[in-house]
């Protein structure tokens, strides 16, 4: 009897652990069936970009409980930095068909953009948020909105308010055939990049000393400080990583769409915020999940001819989640501040 009950509870726990992956797989299968391969790939690609931006949002919230409204604009600046590095510094004009050359260019582009954006993120934290760390919650929130305007206007000043073209280094003609559908390698590249960065982030947070410091700081800043965690350093690293990921998202956005504009940050910031809330703000895996969910809603709406309602559905979801499930899909935080 005892053995049987132990087995059943083990099986139950196993089933419990598998519930999330299983529901994700079920959802993806359903989406693939409803949308077809082409639109499925579109949604995964869009979701990959949303997820990268949402990660930075949710990390900052997790550690200092600040809704960083400037994060969407950090992503936008990332797309311009990538454009500038790619077209002006590396002198790219379009697709590179030589594979080693392409790999080198893309790697340099990622490395430089992520570095620049990580520094910018840390700089913003140091100048705009750290002085307000002990101030009432509203003060850093308003500062974040101010930072958002500053970034938009700086970019507008240097690059103008028009849509700017970005070299698409990966040739859009390269594709593979999947059951009769043409799947561009560019889309797979975007999805793969995003997944690799997300996995790396999860490993970093769960396996490294700094990652542990980030987790403890988000749980209880004062106690962590007493245990010898350098709070300022930990928070700055959070901003470095979050902004670096936004930079990576900026690179990916440029490669995929071939353009950017100074107004990009506002919409994508709202979407990423929604993704973070849907997934459970403060939870990195949840934010990624939320990003993909939003992308599937938008692409699904557009696939069936209701594209103009995509935004309305997404933000309705936001309201529904805030009212009925403020902890989000995966969140364990109480929703009092979300």
């Amino acid at each position: 009897m005892a053995t049987a009950s132990v087995t059943s509870s083990t099986a139950g726990r196993l089933l419990g652990n598998l519930r999330l992956p299983l529901s994700i797989l079920a959802f993806l299968g359903l989406a693939l069936g409803v949308l077809g391969i082409d639109q499925f790939v579109n949604a995964m690609t869009l979701g990959a970009i949303y997820a990268l931006v949402a990660l930075g949002y949710t990390m900052v919230y997790g550690i200092i409980e600040l809704i960083n409204f400037a994060h969407g604009d950090v992503f936008m600046v990332g797309s311009f930095v990538a454009m500038f590095i790619s077209s002006s510094l590396l002198g790219n004009e379009g697709a590179i068909t030589n594979v080693p050359m392409l790999a080198a260019s893309v790697l340099i582009l990622f490395a430089l953009t992520i570095s620049v954006m990580a520094l910018l993120g840390a700089l913003i934290e140091r100048l705009a948020y750290r002085p307000l760390r002990r101030a009432p919650k509203l003060a850093p929130l308003i500062t974040a909105i101010g930072v958002s305007f500053i970034l938009q206007n700086v970019i507008q000043f240097f690059f103008g308010p028009t849509i700017v073209t970005v070299p698409q280094l990966v040739p859009i003609e390269w594709s593979i055939q999947v059951s009769g559908s043409r799947v561009p390698l560019l889309n797979l590249f975007v999805i793969a990049t995003s997944v690799i960065l997300m996995v790396a982030l999860q490993l970093f947070i769960s396996r490294t000393r700094t990652g542990r410091a980030m987790r403890t700081t988000s749980m209880d800043r004062d106690a962590s400080s007493l245990m010898g965690v350098d709070i300022n350093r930990t928070i700055m690293i959070t901003f470095l990583i979050g902004s670096g990921l936004a930079g990576a998202a900026g690179v990916v956005h440029g490669l995929y769409y071939g353009n950017t504009t100074f107004g990009l940050g506002f919409q994508s910031g709202l979407k990423a915020f929604t993704a973070a809330v849907l997934g459970g703000i403060g939870n990195t895996a949840g934010a990624a999940l939320g990003g993909f969910l939003i992308a599937f809603v938008e692409v699904g709406a557009s696939a069936f001819g209701y594209g103009r309602w995509g935004g309305a559905i997404v933000f309705s979801l936001l309201v529904i989640f805030l009212v009925f499930r403020p902890t989000g899909l995966l969140g364990s935080h109480t929703g009092d501040r979300a």
């Binding site: 639109q39 077209s87 103008g160 028009t162 769409y257 071939g258 353009n259 107004g263 103009r308």
Partner: protein
């Protein structure tokens, strides 16, 4: 690829031009100052299309002289963050209404801005001439009547109920049978797409899919894939460049539909400068078609182009001629009011709206019907060829 924009430079140039324009006329007989307002969206993507119309108007005002009066131009820019802003357009119109020596206004460029401006100008009885508004409901039917209190609004561009169908006729002629339509969901984009769709279906074409994606959309891949899945052989986009027309075109190319003919109306006919449809879509712009609700082959075009280039250092394009024509019509109205011995907003308005006869303008003979629409009803059609718009043909709907 240009990285730093020339916004600051062009703003300086505009100021210099304005100063020159004013300087030029103050040199003539000093007297009472009359000002013609110019109201366009003049930064960002909007500048590419509206800039030529402003320059045309400035040139006409600079050239004009009216005995005993000083003629001035006052330019207000209602673009915000690179796109025309109807709220700012209404606010600018209020500024013109509040400035006593403004006797008439050239503008605006976009129909949605006109919708915001006309009630304001109409209440003040201030004459307004638009070079480029094409939405039919601004003037026609119950909508037009409700919009204006009095008769103060005229336009030299003809309307989308002709422009949309003209593109449809042309697309059919080019062999389009199954079209996928995307619009920008606003007054202009949806309106011109509706008119296109109706004519295309009436002529036996099939619409295989249609939807709207609002301004600010960055991801057009799902719409492009939907067009592919629907088996479209041609695409129509109702909207302007800054709504995302070139982004949609790029997404189509990415979905493997880059070879399909891409039709638009005057919203994507905006030259080749920075921020224009051709500049953003690049090589994908080939095989795109657009229209303009105005005559292409104006009388004396070569002479006009020479003097335009001498003044601004660039070629006249787009609605430059229409902007010039609007200013000509207003100046003729002022001259008639001066001849009548009393120059007020009302006399200038009446001189234009109630003239009854045609105005001789750079566009040729232009007269206005009872609601203020031009009787010169010509749609010009263009094709992207070698990275620039080339005129193909015109459809004349007669008087």
């Amino acid at each position: 690829m240009k990285v730093f924009n020339k916004k600051g430079l062009s703003a300086l140039a505009a100021v210099a031009i304005l100063a020159a324009a004013c300087g030029g006329s103050t040199a003539s007989t000093a007297g009472k100052t009359l000002t013609i307002g110019i109201s366009f969206p003049l930064n960002g993507s909007a500048l590419a299309s509206a800039g030529p119309a402003r320059d045309g108007a400035l040139l006409a005002i600079k050239e004009a002289s009216i005995e005993g009066y000083t003629l001035k131009a006052k330019v207000l820019d209602h673009a915000k963050e690179g796109a025309h802003n109807p709220d700012q357009a209404a606010a600018d119109m209020l500024t013109f209404v509040g400035q006593e020596d403004v006797v008439a206004v050239v503008g605006p460029f976009n129909s949605a801005s006109a919708r915001a401006q006309i009630p304001v100008s109409s209440e003040a009885g201030l004459l307004q001439c638009s070079p480029s508004n094409t939405n039919p409901t601004l003037t026609k039917g119950a909508d037009g009547e409700a919009l204006r209190g009095g008769r103060n609004y005229v336009r030299v561009a003809t309307t989308d109920d002709l422009q949309g169908p003209a593109v449809a006729v042309y697309a059919k002629k080019n062999g389009a049978a199954k079209i996928y339509i995307l619009d920008s969901t606003d007054a202009y984009g949806k309106g011109v797409a509706d008119a296109f769709e109706a004519k295309f279906i009436a002529d036996g074409g099939t619409v295989v899919g249609r939807q709207g994606l609002p301004t600010g959309t960055t991801d057009f891949s799902a719409a492009a894939t939907a067009a592919k899945a629907a088996g479209a052989d041609s695409i129509f986009y109702g909207g302007v460049t800054s709504d995302g027309a070139p982004l949609f075109r790029n997404a189509l190319a990415q979905a493997g539909l880059g070879a399909l003919p891409f039709y638009g109306a005057d919203g994507i006919y905006d030259g080749t400068s920075e921020g224009s449809y051709i500049a953003i879509a690049g090589a994908n712009a080939e095989n795109s078609y657009a229209s303009q609700a105005a005559i292409e082959n104006i009388p004396g075009k070569a002479d006009f182009n020479v003097k335009f280039k001498a003044e601004f250092g660039k070629d006249a394009e787009g609605y430059a001629y229409a902007g010039y024509a609007c200013a000509q019509i207003i100046i003729e109205g002022i001259a008639a009011a001066v001849a009548g011995g009393d120059v007020t907003r009302e006399t200038v308005r009446a001189a234009v709206v109630d003239k009854g006869a045609a105005f001789e303008t750079v566009l040729g003979s232009v007269s206005f019907d009872a609601v203020g629409d031009t009787t010169q009803r010509i749609i010009s059609l263009y094709k992207v060829d070698g990275g620039a718009w080339k005129f193909v043909e015109e459809i004349n709907y007669g008087n």
